[in-house]
Symmetry: C2
Subunit: 561 residues, 2 copies
C-alpha cells in the first residue's frame, strides 16, 4: 500500500484523459467528508460535511473542509453529489454555496429535504436535482449512476462516476444490514454489475474497518426496546441522534405496542422527524405523537420522551433532565434509554449524565448494558464481501482516521487487490487515475477551517493556542500610566487577574515591585513604553513562575499620559 | 438500598460505642480514595489518594480529598492505612501530612516504599509502620488485621478493622486472579474466616461492578506479548502504567525470551521499577535491562523501549515518538504495544497517538485489537463470590462513580443482603454503625480541593468558570485614561484581544465608538470610573455579541489621570 509522503509537493497538471481525485476532508478524521473529482477541467464534488471540534480546538463551533483548492475554480464545479443527509456529509454545503449559490445539489429525496431545511436557516435557496437508486444521469462530463445503500439514515446512495478515464465507485457511508427496517438493502447486485463492467477506483467507507465481523441489524434493537418498555413502570426517556429515522421508528412502534404516547423534544429532532414523516420515511402510528406541552396530561406510565442529547451536550434535554433543570423530572421507577453510540471524546460528559440520572433513582439503559444501539457502518466482514463482489482495480479508503484507512486498505489487500493499487491518502493528497492506475500525484494545502461565531476561517492556530493557555492558566493584565516626559508612574499599576488561583491576593504584593522596577527603568532614561512593558512582563512573569508555579498569560500595558 | 438524600444535614454526635465512617473521596468518582473511621474520638484514615481532573476542570494539576472534616482533629488521627501504592490511594498523603507530619503510615513493604519515594520529593520524612498479610496489629482503639489481595500492583492489602462496635472489612482495590504472576492470591480463606466471625460492614471495590463475568488473568497477556514479540521485525515500544510491576515483568520476560534488551523510559517508570526490583517484586532477567542512552548501540530487532504515556500524556515518551520528537524513531517494521486500559476522557489523545504511529508506518497493538491489557478490579462475577463468602451484615460500596456504587450494591442484594442493609453513600455522607446496623447519619461538607501550581485549595469554581470562558471565548481588554476633572479621554482606548477570531481587525472599528460613548457619558457629568467602565463594557459586549456572535470576557479598565 502506498503511504502518503509527508513532504508531498503540489501536483503537476493533470494528464489529458486522466481523472483527478482531491479529498478536502474526511481522510484522516471522522467528519467533514468531501472529495473533488476533476476531469477535463470540470469538477464534481462528492459530499460537503462538517467536523465537530475536539478538546484541543476550544470554542470552535464547527470545522469545514478546506475550500481553498476550489476558491478560484468555483465556475468549473458541475454539481455537488450528497450521498446522504448526515451533518458530516451535508453540513458544510451552506458555506460552499456562499462562494457560488447556483451549484446544483444532487441527492435522494430525503437527503435534499434535509439539506434544504439547513439552507433555509442560512437563507439560501438552492438548485436541487433529485435522483434515486437505479438512475443514471449526466452532469457535464460526469456520467453518474446511483446505487441504493443502507446506513443509519434512510435514502442513502452510493455513486458510480463514469468518465473516459474510468469508473469510480464511491460508497458514501454504508453498511449491509440484510433485513433493514425499510427493506432497502445495499444493492450488491448493482455493485456486482458495476464490478463486472470494471470499477477502476473503489472509494469505500473505512469507519468500521477495524471492527471484526458483521454489524448487527437495526432490527435486533426492536426486541430489546420492547423488553425495556414492558418492564418500565414510570416515565420513559429515550435519547438518540436526531436524524436516525429508523431508531425513532422503533421507539414509536414500541410505544404504540405498550400504550404509550411519544413527545419529540429538541429542535433538530422535531424538524427532522417532521420531514421524514411528511416524505413517508417515518410511519407514525395513529395518535402516538403528542406535543411535549401536553405531556403532563398523561400518566407517567403512558409517556415517552424522545429527545436529543445522547452525546452529553450540556444544553440538550437529556443533560437538563439529569441536572433537574427540565420540565420533565425523572426519579425512581423511571427509565432512560441512550439508544446511541458513545462518540470518542464524549465519555466523561455522557457518564456524568448517566450518573446524574442514576443518582435521581432512574434506571439507565445504554449500549454498555443492553443492545440499544448498532453502528451505521460496514464492519470488516462486510467490507470483505464488498471487495470480493466489486473486485476493484484500485482502492482508495475514505472516511476515517488514519488507523481506519490503513485497516480498510489491508482488507482490500487480503481479497487480492495488489498492495500497490491501494492508495492511502489523507486530506489534500491528490490522486490521479491515469491509464487505469491510481497514483498519488502530490498534495494541495488542506487545513482546518474553523467556524467560530460569525467568523469562518478567522480562527488561526495562534488563537487556539492563546485559548488553550487562557483556559489552562488564566491571565494577568497590568495597566500603568507613565508621564510622557519624566517616565514617572502617574496611575496604576492596576492589576486584573482572571483564572489564576488566589491571583488577586497573592499578586497585591508585587504592585510596589512593579512600580520600583518601572521607576528604575525610567531613571535609566530613554525607556519607551514597549521597553517598560517588557519590564512589567519580566517582574510579573518571574513572580508567577516562582511563587504561583504557573505560567498565566501576561498582558502588560504601559500608556503615556 | 438507601440512596443518599441530597439535602442531608450535618450528623449529630456519634452514639457511645458506635463506629462512624466518613468517606472524604472516591465515592462518586474514580480516584482520591479516602475514608475516615471514628471510634471513641479516635480516627483511622484508610487511603489518601488523588483524582486526576477532567476537561471541565482546566489547568488543575490534581484533586485532593477534602481534608476540611479533619483539619481541627488532626491530633485525633491514630494512623493512615495505605491499602496499596497507586496514586489514587497514596497521592494525597504529602498534603495530609502537611497538617501533621508524624501520623504513622501503615502499609505493606512495597506500598510504603512507593509513598516514601513520593514523600522524599516533598521533603517529608514519614513515620512508617510496615505490615504484611496475616498480621494483626493494634493502633489505639483500632485492632487491624491485614489480608492479602491481588491487584494491578503487587503487595496490596485489605484491612479488617475491629472495634467494640463491630468489624469492618475494607477490600481496598482488588481482583481475584486465581493464577497471578506472584502466586499471591486474594486470600478468600481469610475472607471466609472473617465472615464466620462476622463482618458487620463490608466496604468493597465497585470499579468493575458493572462488568459482567470475571476479570481475565494477568498471565493470559503473556502469550499475546510473546506472539507479538515473535512477529516483530524492528523496534518494539511498549507503553503501560509506571506502577504495573507485573505488566513490566511480562515485557522483560518476553524480551528475554526473544533476545531483546529493554530500556526503561520515563521518570516514574525508572523510579518505580528500581524500587520494585530492589525489594524483589520485579525479577529482572540477567542483563536484560539497558540504559536508554545506550539503546542506539543495539540493532533495531534487539531493542525494547518500556515507557509511560499510554494515556496520551503529551509530554511522555510515547506521544513524543508519535510526533517524531524523541531520540527513538519508529517507522515501517516497528511495533508499538499499548499494554494498558484506555481511561475514559483520554480517547482522543490516545487515538491521536495511535494514528500518528500508524502514519509513520508502525504496527500498533492495543486493547482494541489484542489482549494486551486486563483490568485490576474484580468484575461482577467475582464480587458475587466475595459476598457469598463474606456474608456481610451491612454493605457500603466504595471506589467508583454513582453508577458503579449502585451496581455493586445491587450485586450484594442479589446474594441476599437485605436492601436496607446496603448503604449507598457518596463523598461526605456520614455512615454510623450502631448496634450492628449501618445507617446514613448525615453529611459533612466535602468539596473538590484543587492543587494548582503552588496553590492547594485556592482554585474556586469561580476561577474554573473564568478559565472555561477564557478557553472557549478569549477576552477583550480595553484600557482608557480619562482626565480626572473633565472626564475627557486623554489616552487610549487601547484594546488587547486574545483568543477572539479576527479580534484585532474587527475590533479596530469600535475604538471611535468607545471614545464617543465615554465622551457622552462624561458630558452627562458625575460619571465615576466604575460607571465609565460599564459604558465601555456595554459598547464592546454589544459589538462582540452582534458582530462576532461570541461572548468573550470583557475587561474594561478606566483610570483617571
Amino acid at each position: 500500500m502506498s503511504h502518503p509522503h509527508p513532504d508531498l509537493k503540489p501536483p503537476g497538471p493533470l494528464a489529458p484523459g486522466a481523472l483527478r481525485i482531491v479529498p478536502l476532508g474526511g481522510l484522516g478524521e471522522v467528519g467533514r467528508n468531501m472529495a473533488v473529482l476533476e476531469f477535463e477541467g470540470r469538477l464534481l464534488v462528492i459530499d460537503c460535511g462538517v467536523l465537530f471540534p475536539e478538546d484541543h480546538q476550544p470554542g470552535v463551533d464547527l470545522i469545514l473542509p478546506d475550500f481553498g483548492y476550489l476558491e478560484d475554480r468555483m465556475d468549473q464545479v458541475e454539481a455537488i453529489v450528497l450521498t446522504h443527509g448526515h451533518e458530516d456529509h451535508i453540513g458544510a454545503v451552506p458555506y460552499l454555496l456562499r462562494l457560488r449559490k447556483d451549484i446544483p445539489l444532487i441527492g435522494s429525496k430525503l437527503s435534499l429535504a434535509f439539506v434544504a431545511a439547513k439552507l433555509k436557516e442560512h437563507r439560501i435557496k438552492p438548485v436541487l436535482r433529485e435522483v434515486s437508486e437505479g438512475q443514471r444521469r449526466t452532469f457535464g462530463v460526469f456520467d453518474l449512476e446511483f446505487v441504493a445503500v443502507n446506513h443509519s439514515i434512510p435514502d442513502a446512495l452510493a455513486v458510480a462516476v463514469r468518465t473516459p478515464a474510468g469508473m469510480v465507485l464511491h460508497t458514501g457511508d454504508f453498511k449491509m444490514d440484510q433485513l433493514p427496517l425499510d427493506s432497502r438493502i445495499t444493492d450488491l447486485r448493482a455493485f456486482a454489475r458495476l464490478g463486472e463492467e470494471g470499477v477502476d477506483l473503489f472509494m469505500t467507507d473505512s469507519t468500521n474497518a477495524e471492527v471484526p465481523g458483521f454489524t448487527t441489524s437495526e432490527r435486533d434493537i426492536g426486541p430489546v426496546l420492547d423488553s425495556v418498555f414492558a418492564q418500565a413502570e414510570g416515565r420513559i426517556v429515550v435519547a438518540s441522534f436526531s436524524s436516525h429515522v429508523h431508531r425513532v421508528q422503533q421507539v414509536l412502534d414500541a410505544a404504540d405496542a405498550h400504550g404509550r404516547r411519544v413527545a419529540l423534544v429538541g429542535r433538530s429532532m422535531v424538524r427532522n422527524m417532521t420531514i421524514a414523516s411528511e416524505l413517508g420515511y417515518l410511519n407514525v402510528p395513529d395518535g402516538v405523537l403528542i406535543d411535549v406541552k401536553k405531556i403532563d396530561d398523561l400518566p407517567e406510565d403512558r409517556m415517552v420522551l424522545m429527545c436529543t442529547g445522547s452525546q452529553g451536550e450540556p444544553m440538550a434535554a437529556l443533560s437538563r433532565i439529569a441536572n433537574r433543570d427540565h420540565r420533565v423530572s425523572v426519579g425512581p421507577g423511571d427509565t432512560v434509554i441512550l439508544a446511541s453510540s458513545l462518540i470518542p471524546g464524549n465519555e466523561n460528559a455522557v457518564f456524568r449524565i448517566i450518573n446524574g440520572l442514576i443518582r435521581l433513582g432512574a434506571k439507565v439503559v445504554h449500549q454498555a448494558n443492553a443492545r440499544v444501539h448498532v453502528s451505521g457502518h460496514a464492519s470488516a466482514g462486510e467490507l470483505l464481501y464488498c471487495y470480493n463482489i466489486v473486485r476493484p482495480k484500485n482502492v482508495m479508503p475514505v472516511h476515517g482516521e488514519v488507523r481506519h484507512l490503513v485497516a480498510n486498505g489491508a482488507l482490500a489487500v487480503k481479497t487480492g487487490v495488489p498492495p500497490e493499487r491501494v492508495v492511502l491518502a489523507e486530506d489534500g493528497v491528490v490522486v490521479d487515475l491515469v491509464d487505469g492506475k491510481a497514483k498519488i500525484a502530490g498534495a494541495v494545502p488542506c487545513g482546518y477551517i474553523y467556524v467560530d461565531g460569525s467568523s469562518v476561517g478567522g480562527v488561526t492556530e495562534a488563537e487556539l493556542k492563546d485559548r488553550r493557555i487562557l483556559g489552562e492558566e488564566g491571565f494577568i493584565s497590568i495597566f500603568v500610566v507613565v508621564d510622557s516626559s519624566s517616565g514617572e508612574v502617574v496611575a496604576g499599576p492596576e492589576l486584573h487577574v482572571r483564572g489564576v488561583a488566589e491571583g488577586e491576593d497573592k499578586l497585591a504584593a508585587i504592585v510596589p515591585e512593579i512600580t520600583k522596577a518601572l521607576t528604575e527603568a525610567a531613571a535609566g532614561g530613554n525607556a519607551d513604553t514597549h521597553q517598560l512593558q517588557q519590564v512589567v512582563r519580566r517582574v510579573v512573569g518571574r513572580f508567577a513562575s516562582s511563587k504561583l508555579k504557573r505560567r498565566p498569560m501576561i498582558i502588560p500595558v504601559v500608556v503615556e499620559s
